[in-house]
């Protein structure tokens, strides 16, 4: 699939994705460390960005170079993060997968730009691809490439995948789920909540197409399931539209309430919202 340029998605590059909860990082960086009392030894310089606190500016380097650099110390920790993208067949409805991939690419770009390590997990009913988190700039290319070449898989089985993935995680991390969550809500919530119990920071971005939400079809239709082409259903969407909206909103509400009550950052994004708009809005909201 053809992805957008993440840089253009993020435009000003002023966006940051910070972990809300304490995480363990590879390299001290942007995020708070759970471990206190480390010696503040100078580690390296990095170029100043407006998000950095001025107290960390190395004025000696400024004097020499007329450029702002900050000192990185060992007690700052880098974020270990994973982007998990649902590539099950339900995501192939309209442009959900492309949209999700663009989101994933943008998030990866942001994190790597923050010098956080990012890993990628592509899954449907099992993990199809796994890129362990790295902070190097080459990691982005690997992630981007994996996203571009991602093929839709089989049926959705999010809770199974999450359970398996959970066993791989050793250290506290930031987990970003990008999925339509077309699975049994109680199972998905159960599976994802366990990451919170293990003190991971979890972000869930649910991607939905407007047609899925409003069932905007007219005339008689035979609906065929993307995940099981033998499963078909004939109806006239105009007749069931109202009922369908009620049922679908109930489904979304169940996730919203379930995630929020568990302290999981949940955001619903519809594919009619431009990726950049959606992501920026989300990041701005998360910052506050």
């Amino acid at each position: 699939m053809k992805l957008l340029d993440p840089a253009s998605i993020l435009k000003t590059g002023k966006l940051r994705l910070k972990a809300r909860y304490v995480v363990e990082g590879i390299v001290s960086g942007l995020h708070k460390s759970p471990f206190k009392g480390y010696s503040l030894e100078f580690s390296q310089h990095r170029e100043y960005s407006p998000m950095d606190e001025p107290k960390h500016i190395d004025w000696k380097v400024y004097g020499r170079t007329d450029k702002f650099f900050i000192k990185q110390y060992e007690e700052e920790t880098n974020l270990r993060s994973y982007i998990l993208l649902d590539t099950s067949r339900s995501m192939t409805f309209k442009d959900k997968l492309t949209y999700g991939a663009n989101l994933a690419a943008a998030m990866a770009y942001l994190l790597i730009h923050q010098e956080d390590s990012v890993g990628l997990v592509l899954f449907d009913n099992e993990i199809r691809k796994f890129l362990p988190p790295r902070a190097q700039s080459e990691q982005f290319a690997a992630i981007y490439n994996a996203l571009e070449t991602a093929e839709p898989g089989g049926e959705t089985a999010i809770s199974n995948v999450i359970d398996n993935f959970g066993r791989l995680l050793k250290k506290r991390s930031l987990l970003i789920f990008i999925s339509d969550l077309m699975d049994e809500p109680s199972e998905v919530l159960r599976a994802i909540r366990q990451f919170r119990f293990k003190h991971h920071d979890v972000i869930v971005l649910q991607v939905i197409d407007p047609a899925e939400r409003a069932l905007n079809f007219s005339g008689p239709v035979i609906f065929e399931s993307l995940e099981n082409t033998k499963n078909r259903f004939y109806t006239e969407p105009e007749d069931i539209k109202r009922n369908y909206s009620e049922v679908f909103e109930k489904f979304l509400e169940e996730y919203r309430w379930g995630f929020q009550s568990s302290g999981i950052d949940y955001h619903l994004i519809t594919t009619d919202t431009p990726v950049e708009t959606g992501l920026r809005a989300y990041l701005a909201m998360r910052k506050t």
Binding site: S90, M91, F93, K96, D180, M182, D209, E212, L215, F217, G219, P220, V221, I222, F223, E224, S225, L226, E227, T229, N231, R232, F233, Y234, T235, E236, D239, I240, N243, Y244, E246, V247, F248, F251
Partner: protein, 698 residues
């Protein structure tokens, strides 16, 4: 109702009614195939909606098909007929039954129902015959007038003028109703027309009393029932009514006392009530009547006009409620029979000074002295005076009391000019051997001294004790005792009353056609039968009041319509005996000879009012009243359900009385185009279809 079509070629379009189904099946939009992420929500949403939607669609399709069907049928111009369509084009036989029973006298809006029925029939026949001229088939109309029998029948009245004349000659009656019999007659009359379309039209007030008995009983009475004969019931007169009536009048202890029963049907009401005797009002009051309840009114001390020597016997009396819409049942007539004063001659064989308490005549005089209206004129003679009396024919009764003997002169006078009757009361002095043989033959010596009491009355020939002694019915005769009595010889007479030992107490014999009453004992202290006992005065009054033999059998002077009047004459009349009717006409009676005398019978009592029988010896009046037993005073409608029960499988129409009864009857008879009704139904269905279509969309 049978259906036919005036434009049947339009029915070829009927298959078009299936067009909506065809369009639905063959021109249905092909569904698009859409791949969708998750069908769960769609299936869940469709779960409740689909069945309702399917039903809606079926109803909509059905509504559209029926709408087209109705439009096509309306275009084909449907017409409703009572007769089966197989009868179309046949010759027609119509038999009209006109109810002339009493209830048809009821006046609605100033016109009685019978007249309204006749006018209805005339108008209906006019239109039917006019319509018949336009068709190829012929129409014949017969009219039968019925009540509780067929009064009149005219087969095949040819034209409307004849019908008018026939109807003008039909008159309302006072009889009950038997519609089943009339229907039976109709079916029988029509059965000979095998190839014709037949219809019976019943024109009646259709009150509940027209049907007698259960539906099953009525069905068995209709012997020539034919389900192919159409029947139209036309209910004359509206359902609501009020009617008061006098149900009965009875005379007891006449004329001092009589009573009447009053009732009403419909709704409770108040009515003025009056009693007249000889057209003079002697009583009036306003009474409150309730439906189905009987109000009993008693009238005491009714004083008839004082009698005189003119020998007028009969006085018309009536109990009247204020006349209402059905007038003849508001009056109940009767006849007060006032006897002239009976002339009684008492011969006392043992008169004491002033006819004291020891004399027989004292007690007879006392018994004949009545309070109130007098019936007797009493004269008492001693034996010497008796001997000097020459003409006994002016007396109704001569009573010989305790006479030792009958002087020869008196005997001769008795035989030469006899009275109406003779009574012989024995006493201490009586020596039967010194009496004429026609008296002495009844006595057998000696007197018997034993205490006996009276037994029962014994009918003797045509005579009944009740006829002679109506006032003493119910007396406990066994409590009346005597301690001395003569042994009477029964061979010369009829024993009317016996002692409890079987021996006769009273014998009726005769001498030259003069009744002679012989008693075994008399009233006297020495005889042990104290005349103060209550039995004696009534006994004496009855004997002296009725012994003239004018009426040896009771006569009913107050009859119901249709009941025959019977009267006994002592001697066979030499010429015809006629009866004057209330309408001033006169008719002959039937005369049946008896061993002694004759019975006069008059059966033509169909008109209420006072009748007069002109008999030898006087005029006798009797009254005829509407018979409440017919139930004709209650006009509650029977309704069509009973008609349908007794005429199963019959093409039936029931027309209730209204301004367009004519039109409805004609429609039932001739058929009526009903395309407007089909169009109206189609319009209604169109509205329903629009609602359904909107419902489906929403």
């Amino acid at each position: 109702m049978n259906l036919s079509f005036l434009n049947p070629s339009a029915l070829w379009l009927l298959p078009l009614a299936l067009l909506p189904v065809a369009i639905h099946l063959f021109f249905k939009r092909k569904p698009a195939l859409i791949q969708f992420s998750d069908l769960r929500f769609i299936e869940l949403a469709a779960k409740n909606v689909a069945p309702r939607k399917k039903l809606h669609q079926i109803l909509l399709l059905a509504a559209r098909c029926i709408l087209l069907l109705l439009l096509i049928m309306a275009f084909a111009r449907p017409a409703g007929h009572l007769v089966p369509s197989s009868d179309a084009g046949k010759n027609r036989e119509i038999l009209i039954l006109l109810d002339s029973s009493y209830s048809m006298n009821y006046r609605d809006a100033g016109r009685d129902r019978f007249t309204a029925a006749k006018d209805f029939i005339y108008s209906l026949c006019g239109k039917t015959l006019a319509n018949a001229k336009r068709s190829k088939a012929s129409t014949d109309i017969s009219i039968a007038v019925f009540s509780d029998r067929i009064e009149k029948y005219s087969e095949s009245v040819p034209d409307i003028n004849e019908i008018r004349r026939y109807l003008d000659d039909c008159h309302k009656g006072y009889s009950g109703t038997d519609l089943t019999q009339a229907l039976n007659f109709s079916y029988k009359s029509l059965s000979k027309f095998r190839e014709s379309a037949k219809t019976i039209i019943v024109v009646s007030d259709m009150a509940g009393h027209v049907f007698k008995g259960s539906a099953e009983e009525m069905k068995t009475r209709i012997e020539n029932y034919d389900p192919a004969v159409a029947v139209i019931f036309v209910e004359v007169g509206p359902a609501a009514y009020e009617n008061s009536f006098v149900k009965d009048v009875s005379l007891e202890g006449m004329p001092e006392y009589f009573s009447a029963g009053l009732s009403c049907a419909g709704a409770g009401l108040s009515r003025p009530l009056s009693v007249t005797v000889d057209d003079k009002r002697i009583f009036e009051e306003t009474v409150s009547l309730k439906p189905a309840e009987m109000l009993k009114k008693e009238f005491h001390n009714v004083q008839p006009p004082s009698t005189d020597e003119s020998r007028r016997l009969y006085y018309p009396a009536a109990v009247r409620l204020q006349e209402d819409a059905l007038p003849d049942d508001d009056i109940m007539r009767t006849v007060l029979k006032i006897e002239p004063l009976k002339k009684i001659l008492i011969i006392d064989g043992e008169p004491k000074l002033g006819y004291g308490i020891n004399s027989e005549s004292y007690y007879i005089n006392a018994a004949l002295s009545e309070k109130g209206a007098k019936r007797f004129l009493v004269k008492t003679l001693n034996p010497d005076e008796f001997a000097r009396e020459r003409d006994f024919s002016k007396y109704d009764i001569v009573a010989l009391c305790n006479m030792e003997s009958i002087p020869q002169e008196a005997q001769n006078s008795l035989e030469a000019s006899p009275p109406g009757a003779i009574a012989v009361f024995p006493g201490e002095k009586m020596n039967p051997e010194l009496y004429p043989q026609w008296i002495s033959q009844s006595f057998q010596a000696p007197r018997l001294d034993e205490t006996v009491s009276l037994s029962s009355f014994v009918p003797a020939g045509n005579l009944t004790a009740e006829g002679i002694f109506p006032e003493i019915n119910g007396f406990e005769l066994e409590k009346i005792s005597f301690n001395k009595y003569f042994n009477l010889n029964e061979l010369n007479g009829n024993t009317m009353l016996r002692f409890n030992n079987g021996m006769p107490f009273m014998i009726r014999s005769s001498f030259k056609n003069v009744p002679v009453f012989i008693f075994a004992a008399g009233a006297g202290k020495s005889w042990g039968n104290f005349p103060s006992k209550p039995f004696y005065p009534y006994f004496v009054r009855s004997l002296f009041g009725n012994s003239g033999g004018l009426e040896s059998t009771p006569v009913n002077y107050s009859l119901k319509t249709g009941e025959p009047f019977k009267y006994y004459l002592k001697s066979f009349p030499q010429g015809p005996v006629t009866v004057g009717l209330p309408d001033k006409s006169a008719k002959k009676t039937k005369i049946i000879r008896r061993d002694s005398g004759a019975d006069v019978i008059f059966e033509d009592t169909f008109m209420p009012g006072f009748y007069t029988l002109a008999a030898p010896g006087g005029r006798i009046m009797f009254a005829v009243n509407v018979n409440p037993a017919f139930g004709e005073s209650n006009l509650e409608k029977a309704g069509k359900s009973m008609a349908a029960k007794i005429l199963p499988k019959t093409p039936l129409a029931y027309v209730e009385w209204s301004a367009d009864s004519q039109k409805k009857t004609l429609n039932a008879l001739e058929g009526v185009e009903i395309s407007k009704e089909f169009l109206a139904a189609a319009l209604l269905l169109l509205g329903l279809e629009i609602l359904l279509a909107l419902g489906v969309r929403s």
